[in-house]
C-alpha cells in the first residue's frame, strides 16, 4: 500500500504531465507570456525622500489609531509609561523580560510589575509592557520575535499593550524587515499593526475583540 504522501505527490506529477501538451498553447493564447519568473524581489520604494523611518512610522501609527509618543531618552520614556498607567488606572501589569522594559520602569514606584506572569495572571491583568525587535514605517507595524523576548502572550492577552521601541529598529519597508529576519527565524514571529479589530457585524468597525483594544508605542529617539 502506498502512503498518502506518495499518492499525493504522484497525483501532482501525473496531472502536471497531463497538462504539458496544453501549456504551450495556452501560454501563447494568453499573450505569449514567458515561463514564470522566479525572481520576485520588489524594488525598494524610495521612502527616504519623503521622511525618516521614525517620521513615517509616526504618521502610519496615527492613521491606525495607535497612541504614539517619542521619548528623547529612557527617563522621558519612564514618565510616559507612568502616565499611561495612571490614565488607564492599571494595577495588574505584566512585563516581558526585555532589557529596555526593565530600564524604562526602573524608576516607577507607584505600581508593581509582574515578570514571568502566569496565564491566569494575564487573563486578569490591565496592561502588558513589551519591547519590539523591529518596526515597519510604511505600515506602522511592530515586529515581535518570540525567540528574543517572551512577549508572545503579554502583547496579546491584556486589554492594553504598551510597546517600547528603539528608533534604530525602524525600517522603511516590509521587504527590508523580511530580509533582516529571514536568516534567523525563530519558532514564532508576530507582526502587530494597530489594535485588535473586527468588522464582522454589518462591516461596522469594533476595536478590541480578542486582542488588546489599545496599543501604545513609545519610541526612544536616542537608541
Amino acid at each position: 500500500m502506498t502512503t498518502a504522501r506518495e499518492d499525493i505527490i504522484g497525483s501532482i506529477r501525473r496531472h502536471l504531465a497531463a497538462s504539458k501538451p496544453f501549456d504551450a498553447v495556452h501560454r501563447e493564447h494568453a499573450g505569449g507570456q514567458a515561463e514564470a519568473v522566479v525572481n520576485t524581489a520588489l524594488p525598494a520604494e524610495n521612502l527616504a525622500d519623503v521622511g525618516t523611518p521614525l517620521d513615517n512610522f509616526g504618521s502610519s501609527a496615527s492613521l491606525l489609531g495607535i497612541h504614539f509618543e517619542v521619548a528623547a531618552n529612557v527617563r522621558e520614556a519612564a514618565a510616559l509609561v507612568e502616565s499611561v498607567i495612571n490614565r488607564i488606572g492599571a494595577k495588574d501589569i505584566a512585563i516581558s523580560d526585555s532589557e529596555l522594559v526593565a530600564e524604562s520602569i526602573e524608576t516607577i514606584e507607584t505600581v508593581e510589575f509582574t515578570r514571568d506572569a502566569s496565564t491566569e495572571f494575564l487573563f486578569g491583568s490591565d496592561l502588558g509592557i513589551t519591547s519590539a525587535q523591529w518596526a515597519i514605517a510604511e505600515t506602522g507595524t511592530l515586529v515581535l520575535e518570540a525567540e528574543s523576548e517572551n512577549h508572545r502572550l503579554i502583547s496579546l492577552v491584556p486589554p492594553v499593550h504598551l510597546c517600547l521601541l528603539e528608533a534604530s529598529k525602524i525600517r522603511q519597508t516590509l521587504g527590508e524587515v523580511l530580509t533582516l529576519t529571514q536568516g534567523n527565524l525563530g519558532h514564532a514571529m508576530t507582526f502587530v499593526t494597530g489594535a485588535s479589530r473586527t468588522s464582522d457585524i454589518e462591516l461596522t468597525l469594533a476595536i478590541g475583540v480578542h486582542g488588546p483594544g489599545e496599543l501604545h508605542v513609545i519610541v526612544l529617539a536616542d537608541r
Binding site: 502512503t3 497531463a18 519558532h187 480578542h210
Partner: protein, 489 residues
C-alpha cells in the same frame, strides 16, 4: 436552517432575490469593501506589476508543486513541526481527531479556516465527541445560528445586527442590544473562558514558505494568535496549493491580500510560525502539526485553465465585485466557496455533475478577473467548465433534456453566426427579422411577455425568459447612412 446545495443554484438564487433583509445586508459590501479596496490599492505604486509578480510566483509554484511541497516539508520538519498528509477531507478530519484524542481533549478552539469548512471538520469533530468552538466573531455567530459562512472573509455578512442580536439573546442570554461594541465585548468575555480551558487550537494557513518551512496566518481580531499561542497543541490544516517558494515572496502577497480583502494596508496581525519552540519555558504550543491536504486539488493541475484555480489566495475581492453575488449572497451557491471563485472551485472539488448550474451563475462581465490580485481568469475558467458540461464530459445521457436544449442552442447560434457573417445574408436576415418580430415586440423589446417567441425560436425563448432582448431597429445603420445621417429615422 436547511443547508442549500450547489445543485439547486437557480432555485436558491431565486429565493435569495426575494429576501429584502439579505439585500440590505449585502448592500453594505459594495458600499464598504469595494470603495475601501480602491483606496487601498491607490497606495501602491505599481499595482499591476504587483499582480503580475504574484501570478508569476503562483504559476512557478504550481508547475513544480511536488518540489516546493517537499522542500516545505523538509524545512518545517527540521524546525520541529510534524507533517501529516491527507488525500481527502475524510482523511484530514481523521488525522485532526486522532491528534485531539491524543491530548485527551474534549473541546478545541478554532480559528476561521476555509479548508476546515471545506472538509466539514466541525461536524466530524462533533461526531467524535469533541466540541469545536469557533472563535472568529463572524464564524462564532454562524456557529451559534447553526449556519454556514456566506463569505470567505466576513462569514456572517448575510446577517443584520438585529438578527445577530437575537441570536445572542437566545444562545448567550444577554439583554437585546443593537450596540456592536456590546456584542463584541460579550464575545470577548465568553470566548476568553473557552480559550482559558482549551488545550488544542486548530487554524488554517494562508501561506507556507518552502524555503523556511514557515506558515503564515493573517487576521484582525487576535483569535488566531490566541488559538496558536495559548494552547498546548496547534494543528494547522493547509491545502497543498498554499505553498510559496521564498520568504521574500511574502512581501508581494502581504501587499496584495489585505488590500484586496478588506482594503487594509496590512491586517492587524500576522503570525509567522516556523516549527516549534526550542525552550520549554517559552510561551506557545509544545507541538505544532501541519495537515497537508489534497482533496481534489492535484487534479486541477491537469490543465492550464483549471490550474489557475489553485492560485487563489482567498481574499474575497471577486465576491464583493460580482453583480451576481451582490444580489444572491453566498448561501445560494450551496457551497463553502461562494461567488465567482466558488463557481469555479466547487464543481472541481465536488464533481461537476453535482454543481452543473454554478458555471452558469455568472454574466461573464469580468469584474472578478479585474479585481483578482493574482489575475485568475475566472471567466475563462467558467467557459472551460461550461464546455466540459456541454461536451458531455460531465456525464448525463444524450437523451437528457438539458443536453437537448443546449444542443438546440448551439445549433441556433451556429446558424446565426453563418447568416450574420455575410453582407447579403445579413441584410436579408435583418429585413426578415424586422417583419417577423412584429408578432412579438412589445414597447420596442422582445420580452418574456411575448410567450409566442418561446415556441417559435427556442434559444431566444430561453434568453427572454428572464430578460428582454432589444428589437431590431426599423431602419438599419446602412440604410440610414445611405440616406444621409441627418435625416434620422
Amino acid at each position: 436552517m436547511q443547508q442549500l446545495t450547489a445543485e439547486t443554484f437557480d432555485q436558491n438564487a431565486r429565493a435569495a432575490l426575494n429576501d429584502p433583509v439579505l439585500h440590505g445586508a449585502l448592500r453594505n459590501l459594495a458600499d464598504n469593501f469595494v470603495t475601501r479596496r480602491q483606496n487601498a490599492i491607490a497606495s501602491v505604486d505599481d499595482w499591476e506589476g504587483l499582480r503580475e509578480k504574484a501570478r508569476a510566483i503562483k504559476e512557478e509554484t504550481l508547475l513544480h508543486l511536488d518540489e516546493y511541497l517537499s522542500q516545505f516539508v523538509e524545512n518545517a520538519e527540521k524546525a520541529g513541526a510534524k507533517i501529516h498528509w491527507a488525500r481527502d477531507g475524510k482523511e484530514a478530519c481523521q488525522i485532526v481527531i486522532d491528534l485531539v484524542k491524543n491530548r485527551d481533549a474534549r473541546m478545541v478552539v478554532k480559528a476561521k479556516s476555509m479548508a476546515g469548512e471545506e472538509i466539514h471538520l466541525n461536524e466530524a469533530l462533533e461526531r467524535s465527541g469533541i466540541e469545536p468552538v469557533e472563535t472568529d466573531l463572524g464564524e462564532w455567530i454562524i456557529q451559534l445560528a447553526g449556519e454556514t459562512p456566506s463569505h470567505i472573509v466576513v462569514p456572517a455578512i448575510h446577517k443584520t445586527k438585529e438578527q445577530i442580536a437575537d441570536i445572542f439573546v437566545e444562545k448567550v442570554g444577554i439583554e437585546k442590544t443593537d450596540n456592536v461594541d456590546v456584542l463584541t465585548k460579550t464575545t470577548r468575555r465568553i470566548l476568553r473562558e473557552r480559550f482559558a480551558e482549551a488545550e488544542v487550537g486548530i487554524s488554517g494557513v494562508n501561506f507556507g514558505v518552502a524555503e523556511t518551512g514557515t506558515i503564515l496566518i493573517l487576521e484582525n481580531e487576535g483569535n488566531i494568535r490566541l488559538t496558536t499561542s495559548l494552547t498546548k497543541t496547534h494543528i494547522a490544516v493547509m491545502g497543498i496549493e498554499k505553498v510559496i517558494p521564498k520568504f521574500a515572496d511574502l512581501d508581494v502577497f502581504l501587499k496584495l491580500l489585505p488590500r484586496s480583502g478588506t482594503g487594509q494596508r496590512l491586517t492587524a496581525y500576522q503570525s509567522l510560525i516556523t516549527g516549534v519552540k526550542k525552550n520549554a519555558a517559552d510561551a506557545g504550543p509544545e507541538d505544532v502539526h501541519i495537515v497537508l491536504m489534497d482533496n481534489g486539488r492535484s487534479r486541477m493541475l491537469g490543465h492550464p485553465v483549471t490550474r489557475q484555480s489553485l492560485a487563489c489566495i482567498r481574499c474575497g475581492a471577486c465576491l464583493n465585485a460580482c453583480p451576481v453575488y451582490q444580489q444572491v449572497g453566498g448561501h445560494a451557491y450551496g457551497s463553502v466557496y461562494p461567488g465567482p471563485i466558488g463557481a469555479v472551485i466547487t464543481p472541481q472539488l465536488i464533481g461537476i455533475s453535482k454543481a452543473k448550474q454554478l458555471p452558469y451563475a455568472s454574466s461573464l462581465c469580468g469584474a472578478c478577473k479585474e479585481v483578482c490580485p493574482v489575475k485568475i481568469d475566472i471567466p475563462e475558467l467558467l467557459l472551460h467548465l461550461r464546455a466540459e458540461i456541454t461536451d458531455g464530459t460531465a456525464g448525463g445521457s444524450a437523451n437528457n433534456p438539458e443536453r437537448k436544449r443546449r444542443f438546440a442552442e448551439s445549433l441556433a447560434f451556429k446558424m446565426y453566426g453563418k447568416a450574420w457573417s455575410g453582407q447579403f445574408s445579413y441584410g436579408l436576415g435583418t429585413k426578415a427579422a424586422r417583419i417577423m418580430q412584429k408578432l412579438v415586440v412589445r414597447d420596442g423589446k422582445i420580452g418574456k411577455a411575448s410567450g409566442l417567441i418561446a415556441k417559435l425560436l427556442p434559444p431566444l425563448g430561453a434568453w427572454t425568459a428572464w430578460r428582454d432582448a432589444p428589437a431590431v431597429a426599423p431602419r438599419s445603420f446602412r440604410e440610414q447612412w445611405k440616406d444621409g445621417l441627418d435625416k434620422q429615422g
